[in-house]
Each structure stands twice: as C-alpha cells, then as structure tokens.
Symmetry: C2
Subunit: 443 residues, 2 copies
C-alpha cells in the first residue's frame, strides 16, 4: 500500500530559494514559461516567467542540449544550468543554460504582445483576450494587489474578533428590493441572486457579535459606466454592541491602515511594477453630507441642484476639496438623507430626515456605504409602515429583532473599486479579473 504523507520538497527551485540560498556557480533546476526570447547572435537571452517574477537564462549554441530553433515564446520549460551574478538581469542573477526540457509548446503565435512592459492595446481587446493578457507582468500585478487587499480585510477583522461567514447567493428575495435583481427559476420557484449579504450579516450579529464576508454580489443595474459592474466582490462586515455609527468608521480606518501596511511590506514588488504610491489613511476627515455639499459648492462655484443626493461630479469635487485643503485621500461623508438610505438604516434621533450613516469617498469616488442599523423591532416596523412596505417574505429577518438584537451597524466595500483607486486606474474593469457588465458575459 502506498501512502501520501504531505507536500514534498521538489528539486526545482523558486526565485526566493535562489535569492536566499547560496547558489552562485552551482547548477540548479527551475521551471517557467518562456516569456521573451532576445536573440543576440552568439547568445540568446531566454526570459522565464514565474509567479514570483522573471528569470533570465542564457542560451549558447553548443553549451545547451537543445537547438535554438526549439525555443519559442510561451513554451513551458524546466531548465538546468549554473547560477551567475548579473546585475542587469532581474533579481541580479542569470542562469547559464545546460539543459532545457520542453514541457509544452504553443500551437499558435500570441495575438497580443504580453511580454511587452506596456501592452498598447484597448481595454476591449485586453478583456476579449483576458486569459492571455493577464500573463503580462503589469496586468497580473494588479490582481496580486487585489489579493493583498482581501487578505488585509480578513486578517485585520479576524484580529478584531470577527468571525467569517458564508451567506447564500440564491434567495427568495433581495435585501435592498427594487429593480436591480437578477431573477432565476429555482425548481419551479422564483428566486433572485443576492444584491448584498445585508440580512444575513445582521442575523449573524445575533450569533457571533461581529461577522464579515468577502463574496460576490449581483446587481442587474443597467448602468454602463466606468464604475459599475453587474457582479462584484463586496467586502462586508457587521458589528454589534456599537456605541455609535462612528465605531464602524473607526473599524474601516483600522482596516485601511492595516492593509496599506500589508501591501507595503508583502506586495512591495507589485507596487513598484505598477508605480503606485499608497494613499494615506492615518487620519481621515469626516464631514456631514450637507456640509460637504456646501463646501464643494462654495469653493468650486457650483450650484446645489439636489439637496438629497450626491451626484458623481459632486463626489469628485468633495474629494478634490479635501485633497487640496488637507491633503486627504479619503473622506467620510456622514448623515446621508434618510430617503436615500434603505429602510433598515437608523435615523438620526436629532433630525430623522438624516441617518446615522456614511459613505467613504476615496479620491472622489464612493467605495463604501455603511452605517448604524435599526435594532428595535417596533422602530423597524414603524419605519417600514411609513414607507408603505410589508414584511412579507421577510419574516425570518424580522424574527431577529423580535428576539433581541444589540445596537449594531456595518458596511460594504466594493473591492474592485477600491483596487482601481489604489492603482490609479480609470475603469473598474481594469481591476476585475473577468468583468461582467451589460455587454460582457465572457470570458
């Protein structure tokens, strides 16, 4: 009988193995895809692409076991050769090829130049060829940063006593109601895709006090803008026993600080590839919704058209105001009008036309909506009645308030938007692995 005893060490090395070990002059094995071949006549530079970066290998006719013509870009190979110092090569070393074992070969030439530093191609083409265009070093670096943001979110909240939950994405009704629900047939029942884990997060506050989830949400919105996706990742948390909605803003600020530090230390190489300067999150100004509108209107000579909503252009100006006036990348806009917030939002007892809620603007774009929720059954029933709503289909949500809920609140962060703004991209599709929008369902 054979047994499997765990992940075994392989003979092939990684880039960190080589950098941390003492391999100069020694023969090693390494594998990767041939990213680029630069033919200099006598010698040929063969650049391998690995998950950790690029590695330069040097082919010399006669010194290597295969023929020059057997090498082609996007072949995958395992190579054997001696490590030599070379300042001009990535990571400061190169490998003098002795043996090349071809693992696979492409059958067609690449339709886009993924091995160029900058691919001069349209977003549409990049997305059509997504499985290939992501092989570009700059393109893929964006999604390493995105991984880092999610890790930061989870690790920070875990340290703050939050429990991770997994709420269902198919349900009988949406948390926010309305027109932007994707509908499907579920064994002869009507079902919808979750717009938000809102109800489930709140239910779970009654169980674990503090919970989070990082998962897809679905919105059938017909906006075809640079900021909208029909499927995106929502970083959600919800926390009980809050003293005020400001506890939630504090927790988000803590997350941003933690994550910027994590990116700085563990994703340094990707930040360098993307030439990114991380935003400052050490102190984030907070300003009331009505005040923010006034400040922007005054400074930029803009008329306030709608006192109950922030237009995208106004968000941009508020962002600009706080950047100019106090060098702030982020600003919390608080006390949104009640009529623009969902029924479960807690109204401000001092003026119930406003709510104890906030948006976080990052360089002029909304990346978070959050706030305190109503936790008392009767208050919720009254507010629903005011809005002409019934609790039909929401009995199990209403149940938690009948049976005791602590004061609580939470937020949702759009991961792709946050990534976009950190990286200075202009279109959220640039920071979505496989975006879904009005026109795009593939790949």
């Amino acid at each position: 009988m054979e047994f499997v005893t765990g992940a075994t060490e392989k003979e092939v090395l990684s880039i960190p193995d080589i950098l941390e070990g003492d391999y100069e002059g020694k023969e090693i094995k390494i594998n990767g895809a041939i990213h680029k071949i630069r033919d200099m006549g006598d010698v040929v530079f063969v650049v391998l692409r690995k998950r950790e970066g690029l590695v330069q290998a040097v082919y010399e006719e006669g010194a290597t076991n295969i023929s020059r013509k057997d090498l082609c870009e996007e072949a995958t190979v395992e190579i054997t050769g001696a490590v030599a110092k070379e300042e001009r090569a990535p990571h400061g070393f190169e490998i003098r090829l002795k043996e090349v074992r071809i693992l696979s070969r492409p059958t067609e030439p690449m339709p886009i130049a993924v091995n160029k530093w900058k691919m001069n191609t349209s977003l549409e083409t990049k997305l059509d060829l997504r499985p290939l265009s992501l092989r570009n070093v700059k393109e893929r670096a964006k999604f390493r940063i995105q991984e880092g943001i999610v890790r930061g979110f989870r690790d920070f909240l875990h340290g703050q006593g939050f429990t991770e939950i997994r709420s269902p994405k198919i349900g009988a009704r949406g948390a926010e109601g309305g027109a932007n629900l994707f509908r499907l047939e579920y064994f002869h029942k009507h079902a919808v895709l979750a717009q938000s884990p809102q109800f489930y997060k709140q239910m779970m506050v009654g169980v674990f006090d503090r919970v989070f989830e990082a998962a897809p949400v679905f919105r059938a919105e017909k906006h075809n803008t640079k900021r909208h996706l029909n499927e995106y990742t929502s970083l959600d948390f919800e926390m009980g026993y809050i003293d005020s909605f400001e506890d939630i803003m504090e927790m988000e600020t803590g997350f941003l600080q933690y994550t910027m530090k994590l990116l700085e230390t563990e994703y340094e190489k990707e930040l360098e590839i993307l030439e990114v300067t991380l935003p400052k999150a050490d102190k984030i100004p907070q300003v009331r919704f009505d005040k923010a509108k006034e400040l922007a209107a005054e400074k930029y000579n803009r008329k306030i058209r709608n006192p109950y909503d922030l237009e995208p252009e106004e968000e941009a100006l508020i962002g600009q105001y706080f950047k100019e006036e106090m060098d702030a990348d982020f600003v919390f806009v608080t006390h949104y009008p009640s009529k623009k917030r969902p029924f479960y939002a807690m109204d401000d007892p001092e003026d119930t036309t406003f709510t104890l809620s906030f948006d976080l603007l990052f360089r002029g774009l909304e990346i978070t909506t959050g706030g305190q929720r109503i936790h008392e059954y009767q208050m919720l029933v009254d507010k629903m009645a005011e809005r002409g709503m019934t609790d039909e289909g929401m009995e199990q949500y209403m149940m938690i308030f009948k049976h005791g809920m602590p004061p609580h609140g939470g937020l949702g962060i759009g991961l792709e938007r946050l990534t976009m703004k950190i990286l200075g991209e202009e279109n959220v599709r640039e920071t979505t692995l496989f975006p879904r929008d009005l026109n795009r369902l593939e790949p």
Copy 2:
C-alpha cells in the same frame, strides 16, 4: 474638522481580556446577550452570551441598580461589576452585578430553547428558525470550525505560493456542461450560474502558476439527499508544473495536516464543545479505483455491479475497509474511469480507459474530486471530438492551450461536506449556515 484615526480601545472588556489581565476584585464593564437566567431566590445567575463564550454574572436584589423583573433572556446588556473567582462558572470567574444597562429587549419569548445545551428539535425546525437556532452554543460552534477550515485552506496554500483569485459566478456556459445548470436571463442573453471555477482556475494557472479560490458554486441537481446542496462552497485549487497527479494529492494532504493543527490550537474550545476528535491525516493510503472496488467487494461479500462507477454504498464500504485494515480516516481512490470524468481530465497513457485523477474519501464519503488536466491543445481537441463535443462557446478556454500551458491539475473540496464529516454530523445541512436545497430557499 473631526478625523477618524483607527479602531480605538473600548472600555468594555472581552473574555480573553479578563482571563489574561489581573481583574480579580476589580470592577469592569462587559456586554453581551442574556443567554440564561437562573433564579435561585436570593441570588439570580445571569449568563451572558458573547462571541468568545459564556460569562456568569450574579444579580443580588439591592446590590444591583435595576429590578429583577427588568432582566429577561435575549435582552442585550452592558454590565458593570466586580470580577470574582468562581470555579463552577464558565472560564472560572463570575461578575457581581452593580449596574446593568439594557441595550435592547426582545418583544416575544423565544420559540426554541437556544440556551439549552442540546436543542431537542428537528433539523427542519432548526433550519426554519435558523437566525435564532444559531444562537445556541453548540450550533454556532460548528461554524467557527468551518471558518477554521477555510482559514487553514487559504493560509496553507498562501504559504505554498498560491495566489487567491475571484472568478465570476455568472457566465455564458458551465464548465461541466449538462443538465444541472441554473439558468438566468442576463440583459436579454442566456446565462448560467457557475457549477465550478474550473475553466477560470486553469486560465489563471497560465498567469500565476498556482491559484486557489474559496467561493460558492451552484448545481441544479434534483437530488434531495443528506449529502447534496444546490449551493455550496467549493475550496478549489489548481497548480502548474506538476510532475504527476500525485503532486495534487500531496498538496491536499498538506492542507489537511495544516488545518487539523490549526483547529487543534486555535479552535480547541469549539472542538471541546462539539466533543470532536480530529481525524488523522499524517499518512493517507492511496488505492486504485478498480482495486478499491475489489477489496470492498471481497471483504464485505458484495457483488460489483458497475465497474465504471462507485455507488455511495461502495464508497462507505471502502471507507470502512481502510478504517478497519489500517485505521485510516481518509483514502485516496485513484484512476477513475475516463468515461466518468469530464473531457478535460488527463487519461492515463498506460490505459486510456482510466484517468490520472482521484477522489478523496473521508470516513466513506467523497469530499474531493481532483486530477491532472490535459494541457496540450491537440490532445484536448481530439478528446472533445471523441466525445462528440464542439468548442463552441469555449473559444476563450481553448485559447490558453493554443498559447502554452504547463502540465497542471487541481481539485475541488466540498466545504460543507468536509465540515460535516469532521464534526460527525449525518446531514450536510447541519454544517451549512443557510442551506439551499430542492425545497429550501429561505431563510
């Protein structure tokens, strides 16, 4: 201008704060839900439920600022009182109540006794009342363990150089094809919910070499069994540059070993609450599919009816065989028949009626399907032709093979099933937060 500067320390303490600090005889503040009230006449024990466990407080008429009748179960409170050693109380201390501040009150009595150690109620009732039944200490502990499994999966793979990806859940077609797809209308196009991230994982192997995802998958299967869900969490990974499909089994074994250690150290309390003995994953036997069938048939006098498939009962017997013969909780069954595996499975070059693939059985239940995939374009095209398939709608998947893919493979683990078997539960709904099945779409 006010600024938010990060998560601030609160005056209220957690259970670990009290256990790690020097609070005996000192007055502290703590909050929680009133889990249970035990009225002993002169004194009243008020047990608080917090995320970290239970805390005993003692109410004494006259010593506490509120009246006995103001206390009720499932109210949420913030209490002030002195810490006293008490061996019989949870965590070895109790709090002598001086002040109770009521944060919220239930409006109705609980329909189920969530504060009993064992809720004597049917699974159906528990699921109907899920937002409440999860407040039970044993119920919620299951989902802490589940959190731990997912953490183990991510942390282990991260350490092995894997990158986390987020693939779309709405797509134009399914990876596995067939009848079990949920269909929806997507802006006048036909769309489906992802059965598996298979194609995306493979695309991303061309980008990051090693990738993983822990996300929902959707299967419109009409099975209403104790093992099936229509939405579940799939722990998926895919790795390039493998020497053989055994690399994948080794990685999975490494994950299991890492995770059992993590549960043992960080989820000790929950394991104790659930009276769980963790399975042994130090060495996992591997046996060929045909051999496994024979062994079980021989030992348990069972006729082999279908040489190409494993019936659930056969899986159970194979599990029993390896438990009895070598005290193994897990067994890798390898080389599944080609006709039972998807088109992208790599056939065994020594006998192409079998594949270089495996299932992992855990205590007689399949919890993983994995294997090596075809990485050569022509081989894939030929196999599809053999099966009468066209690549229509799969052009972007086929693209990666045209442009070079390393030898690779991967697996998918059913999170809820793995949790179920670790906890010794009989129904996968017991270890699903909000299950979705043929009949259940709520809560």
